[in-house]
Amino acid sequence: MEITAIYYLVPALVMFCCGVYGFITRKNMIAMLISLELMLNAVDINFVVFNRYLYPEQMEGMFFTLFAIAIAAAETALAIAIIINIFRAAKNIDVRSLNEMKF
Amino acid sequence: MFSNILIYFVVVPVIMLAGLGFCRNIKQIRAVAVTGSVALLGLSAYVLAEYLAIRATGNTEPMLFTGSWSWFEPLHINLAVGVDGISIAMLILSSIIVFAGSFASWTIQQPKEFFLWLILLSTGVFGFFISVDLFTMFMFYEVALIPMYLLIGVWGSGRKNYSAMKLTLMLMGGSAFLMLGLIGIYYHSAPEGGQLTWNILEIAKYDAIPHGWQQFLFPMTFVGFGVLGAMFPFHTWSPDGHASAPTAVSMLHAGVLMKLGGYGCFRVAIYLMPYAAKELSFIFLILTGISVVYGAFCACVKTDLKYINAYSSVSHCGLVLFAILMLNSTAMTGAIMQMLSHGLMTALFFALIGMIYGRTHTRDITQMGGMMQIMPYLSVCYVIAGMASLGLPGLSGFVAEMTIFVGSFKAGMAEYLAGAGSLKLVFTIIACCSIVITAVYILRVVGKLLFGPVYDDHHRTLTDATWWERFSTVTLILCVAAIGCFPNFFNNLINTTFTPEIFRVLGM
C-alpha cells in the first residue's frame, strides 16, 4: 500500500470540517477559538502535503505553514487577551451575550 | 477670470456668506442680506443693459460674456459661463425674488443659519443660470437643492421632516437620471475622435450625439429636470414641500428653483438633442398636458392655501414644459415668459400666504373668511396675485399664457395640416381649458378667504402688513405689472435667443 497525498488530505479535511462544525455550533468563545485552531491546522497540513508531494525541491508550503503557526500564535494570544477582558466585563464568554456594541 | 462680469453672480453670494460670518445680531444679518440682494439686483440690471447694448451692435453670437476656465483637466471640466436672453431673464427673476425673499424673512428664527442656507441656495441658482458647462451646471444644481432640505427641515412647519425628506429624495432621484443623461451626452459630445467636452455651446455646434443615443438621453435629461419642473407624475414633492417650507423658501423654491427645471429642459434636453426632442416629444406632451389640467383640478378642492398654490404651480409649470415641447419659437418664448410670470406671481402668493399664516396660524380656507375687512392691504395684494394667476390682461400671466397658446396652436395646426395627427392641437385646447379651471380655484379661494363675513372673531384683532412686508409685495407686484404692461421688451429679449440653430434640425 502506498501512502499517497490523499491519505493525508482526507484526515485534514475531516479535521477542517470538525473545525467548521465547532465554530458554528459552539457558543463558548474559547471553544470557538479551539475550532478555529483545528481549521488552521487542517489547512497547514494541506500546505505541507502539497509541498511535499508535488514540489519537493521547494519549501514554500513549509514556510507558509511556519508563518501561519507564528501568526496563529499571535492571534491566539491576542484573542485570549480579549476573551479575558470580556470575561471581566461580562462575567461570561458566551458570544450571544455580547451585543453591547451591536449596531 | 474676475474680469468676467458673470462670475460675480457667484462671487457676491460667497462674499455675503463670508459677511454673514461676522454678523453678531439680526440687524447686521438683515443688512448683509439686503445689501447683497441689492447688489445682485444691480448686477443683473447691469448685465441686462450691457447685453442689450452689445446685441444692438449686431452681435449675433449665441451667448455673450462667455468665458471658460479649466477646472479638472483630465475630464475636460471647465467653469464655463455665458448668457443669452433667457439666462438674463432668469437672472433677473432670481435676483428679484432673492431680494423680495430677504424682506419676507425679516423676522425669521435663527437668522444667521437661515440666511446662510438661503444664500447658498441662491449661489447654486445663479451659478446654474450662468453656467454653460454641463458639469458645473449640474454641480450648481445640486448646490441649490441640498440647502432646501435643511431650510425645510429646520425652519419649516407641519410635517416638515417628511416633506423635506420627500422633496430632497425625489429631486435627488431626478438628478440621478440627469447625471446619467449628462454623462451620456459627454461621451457623445464630439464627433468620432474629437475632443470630448461638457460645454453646451460646443456640443450644440458639433451636434454629434447619435440619434439612437439621443432617444435614450433625452428622456433621461428631460425627466431629470422635469422632476424639478413638477412634471406629472413626479410632482408630488411640490405640494408637501411647499406646504412645509418657510415663506422665503417657498418663494425661492416655487419662484426660482422650479424654473431650473424648465430652463434645464430647454437648455440641455431640447437644445442639445433636438432630434430626439422631435421624436419623443409626444410622450412628454401628454404628461405635461395632463399636468396642466390635473394640477388645476386638484387645486379646486384643496383647502390648504399652500396646497392650492402648489397645485397651481404644478399647472403653471406644466404649461412651461408643455410650451417648450411645442418646439416652436413663439411657444418657447411663451414658456420663458411663463417662467418669469409664474416665478414672480407665485412668489407673491407664497409671500402673502406666509404673511397671512403668520397672523392667523392657519392656512385652511375653511377656517378663515373676511380677511378683506381685517387686513385690506394683504387682501388686495392677494386679489392682484390671483388675477395675475388667472391671466388678467395687464398682469404677467396673460401675456405668457397667450404667447404659449398662440405658439402651441400654431404648432398644433401645422402638425394637423401635415397629417401628422392632432395630438398637439388637442392638448393645446386642453391646456387652454386650464384658464377656466384656474379662474375657478382662484376665485374660490378669494371668495372664501378674503370676502364674505369674518369667520373667526379672533382674527379681528390681527394687524395689516408691516413695512417690510409691504416692500416685499410691492416689489413683486410692480414686476408682475411691468411684464404684463410691457411684454414686448421681455418678448424681444427672449425671442432673439431662439436662434435658427435648434429649429434647423427640427425642420421648422
Partner: protein, 171 residues
C-alpha cells in the same frame, strides 16, 4: 512502498487526528476540548515528521502544543470553574452544524477524490531540509527566501505582545 511500520504509524496518526478533532468539538468540558486539541496538534506534528519536515514538526510541538495550548489552558482556568460544563447544544444547532460540516466534507471530498489527480500523486524522494537551508531561506532576500515576511511576523508578534498586554491589562 512504505514500510509496515510507517503504515501502522500513519493509521494511528490519521485515526487520532480524526477522533481527537471530533472529540475536541463535541465534548462539553472545555478543558477536555483543549486537551483533545493538543492531541490533534501532536498528530499534525507527527504528520510533519512523516513528511520529513522535522523543523516544522518541532515548531508545531513547541509553539502550538507548548505555547498556544498552554495559553488556552490558562484562559480556560481563568474564565471557568473546574467542572463547569458548557451549555448543552440544542439538537437543532447540532443538526444544522453537522449538516454543514458533512456537506463541506462531501463537497470537498468529492472534489478531492474525483477532480484532483494531484491528490493521488505518490511521494517523491526528498532530502529532508537541513537547518542551514531553512535558516538561509528564512533570512535571505532572494527568490524563495523569506526575510521580509520574517520581519513582518516579528513586528506582528511585537505588536501582538503589546496588544495583548494592553488589552488584558487590568484597569
Amino acid at each position: 512502498m512504505e514500510s509496515v511500520g510507517s503504515i501502522i504509524l500513519y493509521f494511528i496518526v490519521a485515526l487520532s487526528m480524526i477522533v481527537f478533532s471530533v472529540m475536541a468539538v463535541t465534548t462539553r468540558k472545555i478543558l477536555r476540548a483543549a486537551t483533545y486539541l493538543l492531541f490533534t496538534l501532536f498528530a499534525a506534528a507527527v504528520v510533519y515528521f512523516m513528511l520529513d519536515y522535522e523543523f516544522l514538526g518541532a515548531v508545531q510541538i513547541a509553539v502550538y502544543a507548548g505555547g498556544i495550548v498552554v495559553l488556552f489552558v490558562f484562559a480556560i482556568l481563568l474564565t471557568s470553574k473546574p467542572g463547569d460544563n458548557t451549555e448543552r447544544l440544542t439538537s437543532k444547532s447540532r443538526f444544522l452544524g453537522g449538516l454543514a460540516a458533512v456537506a463541506t466534507l462531501a463537497l470537498a471530498g468529492y472534489a478531492l477524490v474525483s477532480r484532483c489527480s494531484m491528490a493521488f500523486a505518490s511521494k517523491p524522494v526528498m532530502e529532508a531540509p537541513d537547518m542551514q537551508s531553512v535558516g538561509e531561506a528564512l533570512l535571505g532576500s532572494g527568490h524563495g527566501e523569506y526575510l521580509l515576511p520574517f520581519e513582518a511576523v516579528s513586528v506582528l508578534l511585537l505588536a501582538c505582545i503589546i496588544g495583548g498586554v494592553v488589552v488584558a491589562r487590568k484597569r
